[in-house]
Subunit: 383 residues, 2 copies
């Protein structure tokens, strides 16, 4: 179902470069993920991916300084319009999304125009949602610039903005036309963001790929040193895992929910902290350890596996404790408005082993209370 075309060879500035292509199989909505070096500089190849004369790049104030000029130059043939949005999760709102729509209308863009999301998860989610809604749906291309976005949010077609009462509560399933993961952009990524991305990478090992989890245990230091081959391997393996799950369950009616390991806990942390202080990946890291802790209390996962999870997260310098000041009852309340709740029941992704996950509402409430009340916490900023 998934085709991996390893090591396509392309010409760039006289040099031969290599690129990997992963196909996400969704029938008419199928699309390719490209992973490689220097992709943003490859003019003729980039141009071939855009089937319109009306193109708008959406990026944020940080990425604008780093990669906008390069991208604009590479697709100068299209004279792309540009919309710059503020940088940060707190700007992932309907109001900012509406600014993208305004830009499209001011440029008189029609239903066959293209949006390009150049940025991390916030830019990608919001641009994707604008593309889903503008004139009831236009095409968009994801160019993720963070590890988190390259391994997770840019793949799978989930788009959304936040509501003050809940994260990603307003959105759509809208598949991109292509995802372009240029590994060179990771060179400018701050350490903390690289590390936050590793949380989602570790997630794939935990939910369905024990071999990959072992590989991460063996190679974590290489990743932290930003070894190019190690990063490429991690992006490829993560995207394949995600694409395989999405291809089986595009709209999260079942299997796809396993991709949310740690997210019910994590979203509650993020909402309680009002999307400040903690990055998404950091909240997910603590959330995954809480899911492992609960799985252990339920007798489904052995203590040794929980320790392996904690140890790998710690080696990645990811948080393994809750922020202080969130009462267990508040965590539980915030978890109940998670999108995975159904008819008042809380569904969680839990572990039956490293690489084995289940989605279930069939668990005793007492162990969940214990996890929420016994989990260690730390002061903000001292994760």
């Amino acid at each position: 179902m998934i085709v991996v075309l390893n090591r396509l060879s392309i010409a760039l500035s006289g040099k031969r470069k290599f690129m990997r292509e992963i196909s996400v199989d969704l029938g008419k909505k199928s699309y390719p993920i490209f992973i490689g070096e220097d992709l943003l500089a490859n003019t003729s190849w980039l141009e071939s991916l855009i089937a319109s004369q009306q193109v708008m790049i959406v990026t944020n104030t940080t990425i604008e300084q780093l990669y906008l000029a390069q991208l604009k130059q590479s697709i100068s043939k299209f004279k792309p319009a540009v919309t710059i949005i503020p940088d940060g999760e707190s700007f992932k709102t309907l109001g900012v999304m509406n600014k993208i729509i305004t830009g499209l209308l001011e440029s008189k863009f029609s239903r066959d125009s293209y949006l390009i999301a150049l940025g991390g998860g916030v830019v990608g989610d919001m641009t994707g949602f604008a593309a889903a809604c503008y004139q009831r749906g236009i095409s968009y291309i994801q160019i993720p610039t963070t590890l988190l976005a390259q391994v997770d949010s840019s793949v799978g077609g989930k788009t959304a903005v936040n509501h003050e009462l809940g994260k990603n509560m307003i959105g759509a399933f809208h598949q991109p036309a292509a995802v372009i993961s240029d590994t060179d952009v990771l060179k400018t990524l701050p350490d903390r963001e690289l590390i936050a991305g590793l949380a989602e990478v570790i997630k794939y090992g935990l939910i369905r790929d024990s071999e990959f989890f072992f590989w991460l245990e063996t190679n974590m230091e290489k990743l932290l040193e930003r070894d190019a081959d190690a990063l490429t391997h991690v992006i490829e393996r993560s995207c394949i895992n995600k694409a395989e799950v999405v291809a089986q369950d595009e709209k999260e009616s079942g299997l796809r929910a396993i991709l949310n390991l740690g997210h019910s806990f994590g979203h509650a942390i993020e909402t309680a902290k009002n999307y400040n202080d903690w990055l998404h990946g950091e909240a997910v890291a603590t959330g995954m350890l809480m899911a492992a802790d609960l799985s252990c209390r339920l007798g489904w996962l052995d203590k040794e596996s929980v320790d392996r999870v904690r140890s790998l997260l710690e080696r990645a310098a990811l948080p393994v404790r809750l922020p202080t000041g969130i009462e267990p009852a508040r965590m539980r309340e915030l978890m109940s408005i998670d999108k995975k709740a159904k008819q008042g029941k809380l569904f969680l992704i839990l572990l039956k082993g490293i690489g084995q996950s289940i989605v279930t509402s069939e668990f005793e409430t007492e162990p969940l209370k214990e996890t929420l009340s016994c989990f260690p916490s730390v002061a903000t900023g001292d994760k």
Copy 2:
């Protein structure tokens, strides 16, 4: 493809009532349209249409006074939540849509909850869009309370809100779970709104049903007198026409665009008037006559047919002139951001005869200029 089950017999308050059911065939997204008397009072039947314990009714301040108590009583089993929105096209905005989302979140509604749109096109479009976006998609039922909504906007799954630079520019294709057209609610509809609804009814005759157009020419007075049988016939015939088109082209990649006869002109009028003064159906009426006028100037439609269109619109007391104060160049500019524009080309729905329409960008520009500059205008309020 379309099944019409005429005259289902249902028991209500000891009396036998009749109901018509039209199936809109869209594979997994198929849904029924019910047309009949006193449907809002039919508790057990209404309850059977809702597959959730979490139900929220969305209505506006006008309809709240008329039908909310009745509906709440009929589905009291579900203890429905209620969100009241202001009445009017100018409130069809992202901001008001967000209030519906806030209501859902405050009630902790999950992904399998139901929204019920009780109102005209504005309530239906906005509730449908909220349902499309909330947690990336929940179910909704349309209970249209205007003729316009019963014959047009409630059927077909187009949902949207307006942007200050264009009508319905932010939206989604999201099919309802069912449409319930209770003909009794038309008894309280103001004359002007009933008449506005007739514009879309006449449209079906013009685009694909010459026999129906002839029926309307024969029975217009009965409709204006609100003859129950005539209204029921009109709703049924309109819904069948719309359902047949939608079933062939759900997402408006081709054929479906014919449903927009008169709308490129009409939307331009509405945008120029900032959605005040003119009702949607009124703007569409003038727009359809402009499309007929242009078709005639292009040599595609004879003068006699244009006169038949004008005459039927006039007999329905619909406007056949432009509002004053809109320059031809401004009309042309507003038409260029219509959703049917592609790669800078303007696509229009034009007539080759009564009951024969085409979608085309292949027309000379001079006749369009003539239509825009020669079309008679009137002062606002004197349509």
